[in-house]
Symmetry: C2
Subunit: 459 residues, 2 copies
């Protein structure tokens, strides 16, 4: 036979005429997700009407109210708030920074305070800069070369890794621990190259930690855009004595009360087996957190709607959990797992979407071999929708604490190429979301939840 066209045609006709029940139902879930879901509309509201929602902010409070109200309109048996205390860090007025190559010759650069950083004095700090790529380099340079200076961490994310999350993992130490490391050698501040693979003008914030450092020893830490980092590095090669001025007025307040938002519908056959789906309701304070993690929130909220549309009834208990404070404390995750343990809740499955609203490529799992093999046997159901990647390798920060010997934790894995262009930056906004990609994510999640609910996990 010359061409495979006809062979394939017959193959497909064959498949469709013999389509099994799961294939049929997953096609129905697909149709519902792509034609009559509320996923995009909900994100429009969350992003454009509520916007940024850093823990402890008015935005976070409004997001909690909105989520509770939205979930209450749906077919859940019960919607409630789980209280907890969260950190409250406030950025204050826009940060300011410049490079002074000679007195009077200055270049403004784009920076933003890292989450949790202390302020500079109100006039700012101004000093020489020492550029490093690693903590080891700090050790080699020693106090002699570092004391009194601003340390500039400028190790780029590695471009030759197909997963940008892996590249992030290899670079994030600079942001998280840079200040605590640099201060050991007498640095007076740190600026960190934004964790973005692209060259652009957006500084990317994110959490940082001083460890056990007393308040009086803490030094200000800011992110600098990748373009500005490149520029600073070039200028330092010409003039190692240039000065850098940084001014930021961020502040940490006492912890305040906030909430996880939880919705539940009891299963008809195995009500004690809980299937959890969720993301985190808080976001950073710049941008509106559409990808991180507005997408995951609305996808999780919409799973029940989508499955209701096709008339599916849960055998097991479905819980939607919108966690508070993933970004700078994980307090919501800790609180939820504590209470779950106290109440001896049996989470057989938990799925988090917290990797952006891009085209889904698959799922990543934390589980035992038996369960993983069972899940792999469902992979063929996803492949017609270009969901190909089922891997062992983690789930999500908010659900990781629910891990035990028997259960399955999973994370949605969207295409990661563009994620860090937006992550924790002012451009993580609704216009960076594609409706179809967002809906394909919700479809993938609803389909996996349908299969877990129908077949359970291995005992």
């Amino acid at each position: 036979m010359k061409k495979l066209y006809f062979l394939f045609l017959f193959f497909f006709i064959g498949v469709f005429s013999q389509e099994n029940e799961d294939q049929k139902i997953i096609k129905q879930i697909f149709d519902a997700s792509m034609t009559s879901s509320s996923t995009y509309e909900m994100l429009d509201y969350l992003s454009n009407e509520i916007g940024p929602r850093l823990s402890g902010s008015l935005g976070a409070e409004r997001a909690v109210e909105w989520a509770k109200k939205e979930l209450s309109k749906m077919e859940f048996d019960k919607v409630w708030l789980q209280d907890l205390m969260v950190p409250k860090w406030v950025r204050g007025p826009k940060e300011f920074a410049l490079i002074e190559t000679q007195p009077g010759i200055t270049f403004n650069v784009d920076v933003c305070a890292l989450g949790g950083s202390v302020a500079t004095p109100s006039v700012g700090i101004k000093s020489k800069v020492i550029e490093v790529k690693s903590f080891d380099e700090l050790k080699v340079l020693g106090k002699d070369k570092i004391e009194g200076k601003i340390v500039f961490f400028n190790r780029p994310m590695q471009p030759n890794l197909v997963s940008t999350f892996q590249a992030y993992g290899k670079a994030v130490d600079q942001r998280v621990n840079g200040a605590a490391e640099a201060v050991k050698y007498g640095a007076i501040g740190v600026i960190v190259r934004s964790l973005n693979l692209r060259l652009d003008d957006y500084p990317h914030t994110g959490t940082m930690s001083y460890g056990n450092l007393p308040q009086s020893k803490r030094i200000p830490a800011a992110a600098i855009s990748t373009n500005a980092a490149e520029k600073l590095s070039k200028l330092l090669k010409i003039n190692p004595n240039l000065k850098f001025l940084l001014r930021q007025q961020c502040k940490t307040y006492p912890d305040v009360k906030s909430f996880n938002v939880i919705a539940e519908i009891k299963g008809s056959e195995f009500p004690d087996e809980i299937i959890l789906v969720g993301g985190h309701l808080d976001s950073w304070d710049i941008g509106d957190g559409s990808h991180d993690d507005g997408a995951g929130i609305v996808q999780s909220m919409d799973v029940l709607n989508i499955l209701n549309q096709i008339g599916y009834e849960f055998k097991r208990t479905l819980r939607v959990v919108l966690f508070m404070n993933e970004e700078n404390g994980l307090r919501g995750a800790k609180r939820y797992s504590e209470i779950s343990k106290k109440n001896k809740l049996n989470h057989i499955f938990a799925l988090e979407s917290d990797a952006g609203g891009f085209s889904p490529r698959g799922f990543s799992f934390t589980t035992n071999e038996k369960n993983f093999n069972k899940i792999l046997s469902w992979k063929y159901l996803f492949e017609p929708y270009l969901i190909h990647s089922f891997e062992i390798g983690g789930s999500g920060a908010d659900i990781a604490l629910l891990e035990n010997d028997k259960n399955v934790l999973a994370g949605l894995r969207p295409d990661s190429q563009r994620y860090f262009d937006y992550h924790h930056a002012s451009i993580d906004k609704f216009d960076a979301i594609n409706k179809r990609e967002l809906e394909l994510g919700a479809f993938s999640m609803a389909s996996l939840i349908y299969l877990i609910d129908k077949y359970g996990i291995t005992k």
Copy 2:
């Protein structure tokens, strides 16, 4: 064993220590593509310095010159131009359209002439509108209901197909043949809902055909943005007698001379076996054609550079062919295949990239079973880079004419979800391109070409 982590760790160590030569070389191709290729830089020039390049335009002429010059800087043995005649259609001043619900009450709407359309009279055409979803509906309505009116084709692209190209294929008849069909019933013009799955304000142009209709019978045809299409449809339900004004001043000139751009490096062992890689150099006149098909052009141009960087030497002959006039005539493809047939050239493989510069998901092939099975045996080499989809089902418009019993034609298949947001619209611009996604496409192409060159195809 409780968790699979360690199992997988050992598995990966095992794989890497026993990595075969192809795995090693493909990793090198990946590294070169992601860290030191010129793909993005070339597209920056083509998009931002040359810009739109519709066949017969100054932009197309400049693109030909630029491509020849760029290719001449590379390690090809020979770079040449293949002349041909192309249509020359010019849009003229920006189109204008409005909906008049009552005399004096009007709404401006976003439209653009379809490529190849005739102009309206200089004052425009103004008439009642009849909305249809299909050519069958035209038949049912008949001359009675249609004569003297503007036909409004408003069948949206189907959202519940995972491939947006499939959705495009099911809707494009309205754009291509709408005018020729509507004129049979006395329509005086057609407006066609833009072929875009998203609701926005950008009209999408594209080629249309009057078939054999004499010049005097041709009626103007324009695309209307999806938002405007929705609005017009709603207003028509309220007031079926509303009027639509369309004014466009486009014009077809006599054919002009243009060129395919070809570069070749002879193979060391099988110089008569040609491996072709290409895309189309022309683009529509609105936007700068970064996705369609600037991406495919620079990816194709960069394949040799990337393989040179890792020191690979071709056994077979590599040809880069940048086709002219894919958008409104396919004249370059026809000319190239004619000359190839005349010279009895043996194209064992041809690969086209003409589906956007998004994250590559795989390839689609036209070939016989033996070759397809051979290619499938290489799939494991691509999977670590999230290239999962190897399917039978077409290649590219420019290379399709090279098909024969023995050879392999292939098309790069990037993620298609966002493609039609940009396709043939003013927003198909360089800022819609992600550097990594573009480079991943070039990597995928260079890797497949490496394998074809090394192993050949079945005889």
